[in-house]
Amino acid sequence: MLGEGIIKGMAETARNFLGSYVSDDRLTTVQYPEERTPQFENARQFPFLVFDGSDPLKGLRCVACQICEKECPPKCIYIVKSKDKRPDYKGQMQLYPVTFDIDLSVCMSCQICVEVCPFESIKMDTAYELSTSDRFGGLLVSKPQLAKPNDHYRKIHPTDAALSDAALAAEVAKAQAKARADAEAKAKVAAEAKAKAAAPNPVAPVVAIA
């Protein structure tokens, strides 16, 4: 009959109207500032710089290689290299960034800087309440604000952080093995040289020519 569908529809909306007062399951709205949904592990918003140890600026893993600066599609990273060097986590002497700025208003959260970083030093943060009342200085995030401890990374992305830690540990182990091998080789060379020096054969002129 004509109009039957309208009656059915009205009944359905009435059921929804009354039901929303009876059962809270119907109301899927998250009342945002008071309530938040838990974040997904792979959520990403804005990069941060990982540091080891306790001093944020001394422990930065970044070696100012500028790969991220070059790869960044919207070109929102600005790095100034240092003139001097300092030892990194492996004890190797490296440059470090004097300035490391990211423009929050330009960053598009693509994570390419993270993908290209060979030093596990830039990672994506999950913080999303990044608004500021200062639209010029406030949106240019500089090194002290970007530096966050490795524990923070472990907390927000546990799986990735474990992988990253393992990779770094492997690097350190490799470096140590290499150092040990180098030391052994050096010792061997030194021992040989000593043995040669002690030998009676006079080969010194040949060495001098070589």
Binding site: L2, I6, T13, F17, S20, R26, L27, Q31
Partner: protein
């Protein structure tokens, strides 16, 4: 009882009495009219605020949302926030717009929406002008809103505005006919065009039912037709084609911003209240109580209770029905509502000339239900309506 019932009338007379001491005699009629106007604007503008929050919360609940719940307790101060926002917003006028017409259109829309309240009896002795041709005045003034809508659409120089305005005029002209025809039966039976006399004609009780016209076959059909046409006249969903958000941005008031935009909304809601008030006056017994035992409740309270009931009905339909297509809209007006409204005139005449009793009810009922079923069947005959299937989706 009469004290509370006539409290506003007494108040006005007292105020006029006080003012008579200060003002010259010639000014008193003007002051009297101004007092009525102030009361009407205050009451119905606050009703507009109440309806917007009710509508937003009700639609929210229908869609399993909370609706606005931030401003004030349970969000009930949201209209105040909206009003302040509308007032402090920048008022943009397109450079190509016809400046004068663009400025006048919202005013032109609000003025008739307010004027029609002059003849609406909102309680016993509570009508601004007891006008013998009140009904005629109501429709004549109400028709001016079409002009304002077209002024708004035309002066904006915007394709959406113009399309919306053309749709609005087509729709409002089409639905004006069933709207007026459905009220003609009331005029036929009461023999008067005065809304006050029409309300008085519905006093009394036949058995347990009040003598309201909605409780007769022709009155019921007339009321339903009237409400559908009123919905279309007010451009509300499912007849909101002139301002269909998904198609025309905001229809004829696309190019309005700030308080002019708010004026369009105000006018729309005011005319909705006015036409609902007319529906109450014509079919729902106006300010009469439904039962003699409830006569102690003031008459104006009954009017507003009925008005709120109709408003809830409007919100409910808006939350339920999807928007029609233009051809469906026109077919519905001309092929379905117009014949039914014409047949309803016959039904009313038959009802008037048959003696009271069961046969009258049977004949009247048959004259309403029969054409409804036949027309419904006939219009649906060539159509094959089935569940929509999708080739790629699902």
């Amino acid at each position: 009882m009469t004290g509370l019932d006539q409290v506003f009338v007494t108040l006005k007379h007292w105020l006029l009495g006080q003012l008579a001491n200060i003002l010259p005699n010639g000014l008193l009629p003007v002051v009297s009219v101004l007092l009525s106007i102030a009361a009407i604007i205050m009451v119905f503008a606050s009703l507009f605020a109440i309806m917007t929050i009710m509508e937003r919360k009700g639609l929210g609940r229908i869609q399993n949302r909370y609706g606005p719940n931030r401003v004030g307790p349970f969000g009930f101060l949201q209209p105040a926030a909206d009003g302040i926002k509308a007032l402090i917003k920048e008022d943009l006028v397109p450079r190509a717009a016809d400046q004068v017409v663009h400025l006048l259109a919202p005013v032109m829309l609000v003025v008739p929406a307010l004027l029609v309240y002059a003849v609406l009896p909102v309680g016993r002795n509570m009508v601004a002008i007891d006008f013998d041709a009140g009904l005629l005045f109501f429709f004549a003034v109400g028709a001016a809103s079409e002009l304002a809508v077209f002024m708004a659409g035309w002066s904006s120089r915007n394709k959406y505005a113009l399309l919306g305005a053309m749709r609005a005029v087509a729709q409002m002209v089409s639905y004006e006919i069933p709207l007026i025809l459905s009220t003609v039966s009331v005029v036929m039976l009461t023999g008067t065009l005065s809304p006050v006399k029409i309300v008085e004609a519905q006093a009394g009780h036949a058995g347990w039912l009040p003598d309201w016209f909605v409780f007769t076959p022709w009155g019921f059909a007339g009321f339903v037709l009237f409400m559908i046409a009123a919905n279309a006249e007010a451009n509300r969903s499912p007849f909101d084609l002139p301002e269909g958000e998904s198609e025309l941005v905001a229809g004829y008031f696309t190019e309005y911003s700030g308080f002019k935009f708010a004026l369009f909304f105000l006018a729309e809601y005011l005319s909705l209240f006015a036409v609902s008030g007319l529906g109450i006056t014509l079919f729902l017994g106006g300010w009469q109580a439904p039962f003699a035992a409830l006569d102690f409740v003031p008459s104006w309270a009954w009017f507003f209770v009925k008005l709120l009931g109709l408003i809830v009905l409007f919100i409910w339909t808006r939350g339920t029905l999807p928007r029609l297509r233009v051809d469906q809209l026109m077919n519905f007006a001309w092929k379905f509502m117009l014949p039914l409204a014409l047949i309803n005139l016959l039904t009313a005449a038959v009802w008037h000339y048959m003696p009271p009793g069961m046969p009258r009810w049977l004949v009247g009922g048959a004259l309403v239900v029969g054409p409804y079923l036949m027309l419904g069947r006939g219009l649906m005959a060539g159509k094959h309506i089935s569940k929509r299937t999708y080739r790629y989706a699902e």
